[in-house]
Amino acid sequence: MSEPDSPVMAARTRGRSRAWTAFSADPLSLLGLVIVVAIVGLAIFAPFVTPYPDHVGPTGDFTAMTAAPSGAFWFGTDMIGRDLFTRILFGYRLSLIMAIVVLAIAVPIGVIVGLVAGYKGGWTDYILMRITDVFLAVPPLVLAMAIMGFLEPTLLNGMLAITAMWWPWYARLIYNVTRAEAQEGYVLAAETVGASTAHILFREILPNCWPSILTKMTLDVGFVILMASSLSFLGLGVQPPTPDLGSMVADGAKYMPDAWWLTVFPAIAILLVVLGFNLVGDGLREAFEAEG
């Protein structure tokens, strides 16, 4: 391990603080961070934040059915008197869990495929990347729909379908980075001293991919949520009574325009979470570029 005041560590610390300076200098990145922290916080503490935690289930307050937004129900209530604010918070919970699970599985698969194909070259490269191309050649939503078509529409299968169409993007990204990095002197040096392929892939090349991976993962939390809500909007996602932002929009649309809040608030909730993670992701990208 290097000493804390070694030149390398000092350069790293300088790089990090420069990255944070670049990130915090952009008001849009900070706005994104505020949105993300607020949504994640509300989702985690949802049962304590809302006065109606039991409205998550199939029953609500029958004395206040389809009530317009008011002091008691900030975002109004649905057809069976469930507080919409509560259901949106729990919808966020589900969306965030889905995004985390999908990325936790899809990213390692994509990264390994990209590293191996980019470094090995030849037939390995050709076969792995053609498989990736096939997945990228079907509109993502259609592929996820098709997979859902052969499975039962449950939370787990929804995550499986989205994971299946998500890894190729990481394979493509890491493949391009690896191809460029494999030509660098440090990889050649490791090869010369006889380092194993695994060592070169995971200890030499992978660390240089982290900025790209982290940036894309941040953006993708938003986009996985977008994709999951699209599936459930079509009725191919989580089934009731589990609160889900996409199916809330679909159900609410039946009561337009009189009960407009049933559609508008879940719709804005989706927009906000995707926007938040997008702003943070964009800020991260520029910060990493500033770090150099």
Partner: protein
């Protein structure tokens, strides 16, 4: 010329390989699914004899590679099987529903370019000033908002509240559809010489097309802006400025063309996303395209129809991408030159 032809053939070959890959993927997904495909395809009311007959007809007891080969043979002869839901050949169903979807996607594509490019150009031109901020906000919201959210919001505000546009469907009830020649409502109305019908169809098309276009529009504006900003910093633009060329001429003549090329290359991907997102927008606006059919067959586990729908959409996507590739080739002199030298 022969070089352009060769590169075209190369692209077609690559597309064919991908298409074969997609057919394998869909076939694999359909086969690993739990349950007997013949039983699922025939539905719960079929007798054991019927199931056995279909198993024989589809070679379901043969090894997987043989099954795949039979599947490819029937697809190649234009046979996508029969839909359990409509009780018709899948090709008939798709031929009925696909044109409305394609019409929506094409009009959205036009809107995406017609609105996205100018926003990007203005943003770059007024970099850091008010029009730039507005442009970036529009593109950011476009990218971050699912198509169905745009759909319900546009429908609520412009349809229900302000009443500027019809709320759903492809035509008003008072208007009779033109005889189907091409399947595209606008084209059929034009062929029939029905001016009022054409306008009514267009009126119905605008909101769904706009909702579908927003994401690609935002992406186009974003990319055009950053590409033009990059070009603006190049020496020859500096020189044009130093010579006192008018700003508009610099923007349109010197900065726009080189900035257009990388933008064009992503248009193919945006079209792909639109073919998928059309499902969402069609649901919002009750559009009579592939969406309702697609969702319905998925929920009913209508095997042949699911496979057919996905194959057709994937093929449409590949064709659009080849067209975009060719366009980029025609517009970009550098690629044309490289092809000429090769």
């Amino acid at each position: 010329m022969s070089n352009i032809l060769r590169s075209l053939l190369h692209r077609l070959g690559a597309a064919l390989i991908v298409m074969i890959g997609i057919s394998m993927l869909i076939f694999a997904i359909a086969r690993v699914m739990p349950g007997d495909p013949a039983r699922i395809a025939l539905g719960p009311n079929a007798t054991a004899e019927q199931v056995a007959a279909l198993r024989l007809e589809r070679h379901l007891d043969a090894p997987l590679p043989v099954q795949y080969w039979e599947f490819v043979k029937s697809v190649a002869t234009g046979d996508l099987g029969k839909s359990l839901y409509t009780n018709r050949p899948v090709t008939t169903d798709i031929a009925q529903f696909l044109p409305a979807t394609l019409e929506l996607v094409f009009v959205s594509g036009i809107l995406m370019v017609l609105i996205g490019l100018p926003i990007g150009i203005l943003s770059a031109h007024y970099r850091g000033r008010f029009p730039d901020h507005v442009g970036r906000l529009i593109s950011l919201l476009g990218v971050c908002t699912p198509a169905f959210v745009w759909g319900v919001i546009l429908q609520l505000v412009l349809g229900y509240f302000w009443g500027w546009f019809p709320i759903e469907g492809q035509l008003s009830q008072s208007v009779t559809a033109a005889p189907a020649v091409t399947g595209f409502m606008l084209v059929d109305m034009a062929i029939a010489g029905n001016g009022a019908g054409f306008l009514d169809a267009l009126h119905h098309l605008i909101l769904p097309a706009l909702a579908l276009a927003m994401s690609g529009l935002g992406q186009t504006a974003r990319l055009t802006r950053s590409n033009m900003n990059e070009v603006y910093e190049r020496p020859y633009v500096e020189m044009a400025r130093a010579y006192g060329f008018p700003a508009r001429r610099i923007a349109t003549r010197y900065a726009f063309r080189p900035a257009l090329i990388p933008t064009l290359t992503i248009l193919g991907l945006e079209f792909a996303a639109m073919l998928g997102n059309a499902f969402l927008v069609e649901k919002v606006f009750g559009w009579p395209g592939l969406s309702r059919y697609g969702v319905e067959v998925i929920l009913r586990k209508d095997l042949d129809a699911i496979v057919g729908t996905v194959l057709v959409i994937a093929a449409a996507f590949l064709i659009v991408n080849i067209i975009v590739d060719i366009l980029v080739n025609i517009i970009n002199p550098r690629i044309r030159l490289a092809a000429g030298r090769a």
